[in-house]
Amino acid sequence: MAFEYAPAPESRSIVDIKPSYGLFVDGEFVDGRGTSFKTINPATEETLAEVAEASEADVDLAVRAARRAFRGWSRMSGKERAKYLFRIARIIQERGRELAVLESIDNGKPIKESRDVDVPVVAAHFFYYAGWADKLEYAGLGPNPQPLGVAGQVIPWNFPLLMLAWKVAPALACGNTVVLKPAETTPLTALLFAEICQQADLPPGVVNIVTGASSTGQALVSHPDIDKVAFTGSTEVGKAIARAVAGTDKKVTLELGGKAANIVFDDAPIDQAVEGIVSGIFFNQGHVCCAGSRLLVQESVADEVMAKLKRRMGTLRVGDPLDKNTDIGAINSREQLDRIRELSEVGESEGAERWSPACDLPTSGFWFPPTVFTGVTQAHRIAREEVFGPVLSVLTFRTPAEAVEKANNTPYGLSAGVWTEKGSRILHMASQLRAGVVWANTFNKFDPASPFGGYKESGYGREGGRQGLAAYLKGAQG
């Protein structure tokens, strides 16, 4: 049965996108000294705005502003810092629709995700850490918790505002000041957040935002006067950062790539598991570091699971990110689309079988249909490398031990999923899987109270929860 839906677009008139943006330094928007770049809507390829590309000198000014602000911010009582964070959280809620629409326009993600996941979790994150600001001595992270100083933070394009919240909220709660670099393709919600900081009367220099590409990021993480580097992005860049900070006193948190196994046992609630597989790999176009990109299904139910999965994939609607019915939006950039295409072609040429439902893709913009590969072996590149797109690789197993071995056979260790009705098996699998987050009979759930971060080459340190404070306090682990 085919469902037809009339278009139901969210109005974009709520958002006022300026033709050009400067940097946010010391509480003011300033012109950069470097060049500028365009940010586009990946669903239409229309240019949204010109954005300043921060040069090394711009980054230096921002770090200086953050250093000056650190004195006052770190000495302010936690009780007062908390109120600024609560203000920010409240403004995010109040301007939630605007933020959601802008996020979908600049990133390409469906409005129902930016509206129902990204923005509410962003607000919740600020609320959560606001409450910690005056309770740090109760966090169990040492008797006299002290901030580190200035944090240099570099975030990716897949959850632009959410990653900003994960970085900025705990840093500020602990009394640090920040210089944040949003991703080159998705700077706009960070710049709107800068406006929110002004609206909240946050003291100048506590939050500084420098837009740019990788050279701006390099200038930031290697700046001698920052005390902390927090990075979310690729494992390759994460390793480069780990090398760059070697021999310094900089504390580092790295939240990097993943190739999560989503393991379905024969006694799993299959319909629920199929929903979990779909949200595991197609949520946010698969641009998710913890995506369940390797489905490990027990051989005895593989046919049933695949039939139901394909049927369900046929109902996914790909298209206009601002349409409230859209399940899968636009791929964030041409570069990323090229990578997804390339790895998918490699998957076929290495012998895996590729399948996508019939689906009409828009003619302009960057699009990739939901795709599943069967007959995948552990040696295939699509089973080893992070595709970071709506592409699922399916492998089978017979015993729990084999599932564990295959799941752990990766240099990554960010997340994993387990589907079974047997409680003891869940706990066994959860203990055996070498991953920082294990979702049992659920997938891709996020909460400010829940620590997130990886084992092995998925990075180190945790974001979220009580553990997330450790990343921004002296002496505490993270």
Partner: protein, 289 residues
Amino acid sequence: MARIDVRKTYKLYIGGAFPRSESGHSYEVTDSKGKFVANAALASRKDVRDAVVAARKAFGPWSSRTAYNRGQVVYRIAEVMEDRRPQFEEAVRQSEGASASAARGQVDAAVDRLVWYAGWADKLAQVVGNANPVAGPFFNHTAPEPTGVVGVLAPQQSSLLGLVSVVAPVVVTGNSAVVVSSFERPLPAVTFSEVLATSDVPGGVVNILTGDAAALGPWLAAHMDVNAIDLCGVAGSPELATSLEVAAADNLKRVRRAPDAEPDWAAEPGLGTMTDFIESKTVWHPIGT
């Protein structure tokens, strides 16, 4: 006529056995006044690799033991050490040129430190783990797990208390260790390995290599099957420490950086020595009827 003493050539401790260095090399160990004491095996790159294989093999079973059992095993090390106090005191005196009472004090502190860490085995998860009250119908909790195989460059100065202080936190939390002892003061480490071999520590959980941290450190830091590294043994050599940290980035090892100088080992260590080598794992499950 004075008796001619039997001069020993000490060996490595890998996988619960005492092999000679694969290289066949050994080096002379002298006391603090330069007088010959014994020969020690000079560990090579191959010995590092063998030790990592042994540590990896031991990691699964060791990390799967109950915390209570790991605490018992570490406490047992303290018991066996206590039995061999004179030998340790002699080794510390020779190695560090310490007075008899200072050596005794160091052995006391080392035994006490093992007892302190033994007690942490079944408490750390309660202190650093917790339930997470997420905004939805989910059971969600976070608990620590060992990070895996940990390379330990043991301190060069504090030959026993320093050694115990860097090894105990790694293994009590369920990791396995490849330890490079103090180069010039290896004998307390050799005696410690004999204690490990005669206590209840499974082979491979602690592997002790005598040799030069500057020569062995790069192999350990770059080894792709080592999950973390403690650089304490290169304290005071910032360039070497930096190069090891760079090498460790190849597989994103957790790095405990070298201090500028060896810390005061008598001070209570705090939790960081353990939490630097653990991972926080968070598990979600829906709540429903």
